[in-house]
Symmetry: C2
Subunit: 237 residues, 2 copies
């Protein structure tokens, strides 16, 4: 489809109130994308579009699963909500993805990231001079893009840009966004429908809470997963 065909299709549809674009690429961390999708996608009037450079399946970081992007980038040029998950090191320096992020941000109501997805917002030049968060292990890379990393927050809002912390934090951020978009009552309905009343059986969810050995193991393992990430800093425009 061309952009024009897509515009025609959109005109035929019942008008969605909130178009949410979730960017995908081989190497995506599934929960980073799926947590916010689940919360936002159940909001009345929401339409979630998974987008990638080419439509079709993308493989997650573990290699165990594929998620399907239904839309190519060009068909979703002006989402209301732009969500950038962590997409793996290969996506970081991809100029087509960065150009789409910059362009979509011009008209978005909300431009958001989860986990190391904030590094792509940074690489796209959107976080310079802003407070932001992301995966705790990637703090230094995030700050290399001119952002100031905020610890101990699940998400940080600066105007219409919201960055969330590591992997699971996108659920908290998405509830906040539902509250802003559709009101607090709707956010509470989504929270109750998804029975999000978390009680983790351990208390090691932040570097401040976990003991030193766990912090070192987690940091080393995460760095192994995102290998080569720091080498991509040159992607900054």
């Amino acid at each position: 489809m061309t952009g024009t065909d897509d515009a025609a299709l959109r005109a035929e549809r019942s008008d969605p109130n909130t178009e949410v674009a979730v960017l995908l690429h081989d190497g995506v961390t599934a929960l980073v994308a799926i947590g916010p999708y689940e919360i936002l996608g159940g909001m009345p009037g929401a339409e979630v579009k998974f987008v990638a450079k080419a439509p079709g399946p993308v493989r997650t970081d573990s290699g165990f699963l594929s998620l399907t992007a239904d839309y190519p980038l060009d068909n979703v040029p002006e989402p209301d909500v732009l969500l950038v998950p962590f997409l793996g090191p290969a996506a970081m320096g991809d100029e087509r993805l960065l150009a789409w992020i910059r362009s979509a941000h011009r008209t978005s109501r909300w431009t958001t990231s989860v986990c190391a997805g904030s590094l792509m917002l940074g690489a796209a030049g959107l976080l310079d001079g802003l407070r932001a968060t992301g995966h705790w292990v990637t703090k230094d890379i995030l700050e290399s893009f001119g952002a100031t990393y905020v610890p101990d927050e699940r998400y940080v809002r600066q105007g219409r840009i919201v960055t969330a912390a590591g992997v699971s934090s996108g659920i908290d951020m998405a509830l906040y966004l539902v509250g802003e978009i559709a009101g607090a009552k709707e956010a509470r309905v989504r929270q109750l429908m998804t029975e999000y009343d978390p009680k983790p059986p351990f208390d090691a969810g932040s570097a401040a809470k976990a003991d030193r050995e766990v912090v070192e193991l987690a940091a080393a393992r995460y760095r192994g997963l995102v290998g080569g990430l720091s080498a991509e800093r040159g992607a900054r425009p």
Copy 2:
């Protein structure tokens, strides 16, 4: 592939320590499957296999996304960990799925469900006389299978069967399972890697905490999503 081919493939592979089978079907609620996958799949030695009646994409309940099942049921007959997400009403009475669940349960180390997935364990005859949980709206259906619904718990263990509450609770359950399978230190590493230090911006995650209007709206909306579910009680063997 036949079962024999798969056995040969498995013999060729480096032996995984923990084979996790996640059952999929059109209508699956994505976060119900992806939360536990993300936690369990990062455990050293874990191999997660998404299984369905036929390999290929399945569409999630929202219609916005496909997840890909790489394996047909017959190729994963004896997983160490069996995980049954909520798969939608159409799957509930599907005798092939129920037969696979019963068979896999004979040799599993852990048989688990998340959200209304516990209704499929119930329909397979595995919960009769046991304490269990599931999505709070499906309490009565769960109890029609002979289970006793336990409120206010994120997951309930009975021997090697663990049932988790609604949608998001599978994350808590999976951390518990990692602790049991690989030890508390590894569970803490997984928690920190996924930065699971939840701080929901609202406090309406259980029916006991939400106000009456929110409870009624959430129950009505959830019943709409799982329409026809109660009519499937006859699937009980």
